[in-house]
């Protein structure tokens, strides 16, 4: 009961607030988890363990590398698209209570768009001499997939985050082809964001995502990865992203 109340409150928060709240919680859990892992090791009588504190899957160490130059930006986008695709795949696999046929149709379309984006980046990075990052392990434990408010609240936060991420990273790209591709994708993400917002509240298609000149807000890769981190178990090293 209390849990679902929290979820509903979160759905009414803005994207930044919504995800940042989760960051705080995740940070706490990470420390708590570290303690728990230690306890387990002690309980095992300090027996030889495969536990590697630097394993990015454990959230420690520098994290996986995104590569350098434009490839780092593409891998950064690939990471975000992996997150979104995994989220919508789960949304369709376990529909929230009362999902209508229209909602199913629209959310399925979005799922397929995100999968197209994800697979595109994987192929394009390899085709351009880069190494695509591995498949990320996601952490959706904070999302209640049976709740419309939780699912659409998370979708809104992810879509708004994605738009601000592409807008904020565009100038870092050196290759005009990649810049154009980012532009081709970001407007579709903005369409998703507007739709999800309208599904939650009529006429919220701009909401708090624009500044006083009606320009969409943008975020740096470091800001975006920090906000996304609670949903991605695999640690990502942002240090090679050009600045």
């Amino acid at each position: 009961m209390e849990n679902s109340t929290i979820k509903n409150q979160e759905a009414s928060l803005s994207a930044g607030e919504f995800l940042e709240k989760k960051v705080q919680r995740r940070s706490f859990l990470r420390y708590a988890g570290a303690g728990a892992a230690g306890v387990v090791l002690v309980a095992a009588g300090c027996k030889q363990s495969n536990y590697n504190p630097d394993d990015p899957e454990n959230g420690f160490g520098p994290g996986i590398s995104l590569g350098t130059g434009d490839v780092a930006i593409l891998n950064y986008a690939y990471a975000l698209e992996q997150l979104e695709a995994a989220f919508y795949t789960q949304v369709i696999a376990t529909p929230f209570t009362g999902m209508t046929a229209v909602e199913t149709s629209l959310l399925k379309d979005i799922r397929d768009h995100e999968i197209a984006h994800r697979e595109f980046f994987k192929a394009a990075i390899a085709a351009n001499g880069g190494t695509p990052i591995k498949n990320l392990t996601v952490d959706f434990s904070s999302i209640n997939f049976s709740s419309r408010a939780s699912v659409l609240g998370t979708a809104k936060a992810f879509e708004d985050l994605g738009v601000s991420a592409y807008d904020g990273a565009g100038y870092l790209l050196q290759n005009a082809t990649f810049l154009l591709l980012a532009g081709k994708i970001v407007s579709v993400e903005a369409r998703h964001a507007a739709l999800i917002r309208e599904m939650l509240e009529t006429n919220s298609f701009l909401g708090d995502q624009v500044d006083s000149s009606s320009v969409n807000i943008s975020r740096t890769p470091a800001q975006v990865l920090a906000i996304a981190a609670p949903f991605i178990k695999t640690k990502i090293d942002p240090s090679t992203i050009p600045a």
């Binding site: 397929d112 197209a116 565009g170 407007s187 739709l195 006429n203 320009v215 969409n216």
Partner: protein, 291 residues
């Protein structure tokens, strides 16, 4: 140790290092550290002064030209919604739908003001709005301000075209941190407008060229690139790269794995919006009296 670390180390001793190396970088550094201290409403002014500092008189002419092009289109969009809201014969339903059209009008007005301010601060004369727009496009849409369905359909085409227009010029702003980021920010807002107009049409029962409810994104199939289905809008969804394109930088999206098979053509086409060139856009808006 990399070059950034080295520079940061030097900066501790020589605070002017960035300026010595690259005056433009220093100006940007100042600008962004200042950003947190000023109100957002002051941004266009700060943008201009930042540019003057960074470039002096050597502001790239391409950047100016793209800003003027953007302003030309924003003037047109704003006047379209201004006229629509003032048209007493246009039955926009009171409440949510009227509010949405007012919101989009005001959003376009802010884009106009933003671009005018930036250009003025760059010592440029912003292009003026026309007093002679013809929103019937030479009689193609005679009921534009009397038939709500026509109005929303044309609004959809205009918004989708705006998105394509910004996208088509992004490459010319490559690496321009401030202007490119602002242009991408306006581009995303135009996409939000487009999705909203499309969703309003869907809620009003409008169908697309595939006899399905209008989608918030641009739908396409192997043989259809214009999901509005109105032949007059073929150019808005066609062009050098049409909206049903599924080949992205040599990667054929329909050859990639989706769920239960390859990614379907419809999703591959919808997942990427396509650009229009300047010449294509100007040809499209010319019948509306835009030049």
């Amino acid at each position: 140790m990399n070059i950034v670390n080295i520079l940061e180390e030097i900066e501790k001793v020589d605070g002017e290092i960035y300026e010595r190396l690259n005056p433009r970088r220093k100006a940007m550094k100042d600008f962004f550290s200042m950003g947190s201290k000023i109100a957002l409403s002051a941004m266009p002014f700060a943008l201009g002064s930042m540019f003057n500092k960074a470039y002096g008189q050597a502001m790239p002419s391409t950047v100016i030209e793209v800003l003027q092009y953007a302003l030309t289109l924003e003037h047109f969009e704003y006047n379209f919604y201004l006229r629509a809201n003032a048209a007493t014969a246009l039955p926009i339903p009171a409440g949510d739908q009227r509010n949405a059209i007012v919101m989009i009008r005001d959003s376009e007005k802010k884009h106009v003001d933003f671009l005018k301010t930036v250009l003025t601060q760059l010592n440029q004369t912003p292009v003026a709005e026309k007093t002679t727009y013809d929103f019937t496009a030479g009689g193609t849409f005679p009921d534009i301000f009397t038939n709500y369905g026509t109005f929303l359909a044309v609004a959809q085409a205009i918004e989708d075209t705006g998105v394509r227009a910004y996208k088509g010029r992004a490459g010319e702003l490559k690496g321009e941190k401030v202007v490119l980021t602002a242009a991408l920010g306006i581009h995303a807002v135009e996409a939000r407008h487009a999705a909203k107009i499309r969703y309003m049409r869907r809620m009003n029962g409008a169908m697309d060229a595939f006899n399905g409810p209008v989608k918030p994104w641009i739908a396409g199939s192997t043989d259809k690139f214009n999901d509005l289905g109105v032949p007059a809008a073929d150019g808005n969804y066609g062009g050098t790269v049409k909206e049903n394109n599924v080949n992205q930088a040599g990667v054929v999206i329909t050859n990639l794995a989706g769920i239960g098979g390859n990614i379907p053509y419809s999703a591959a086409a919808e997942a990427f919006d396509e650009p229009l060139t300047k010449a294509e856009v100007l040809a499209l808006v010319a019948p509306f009296g835009v030049s």
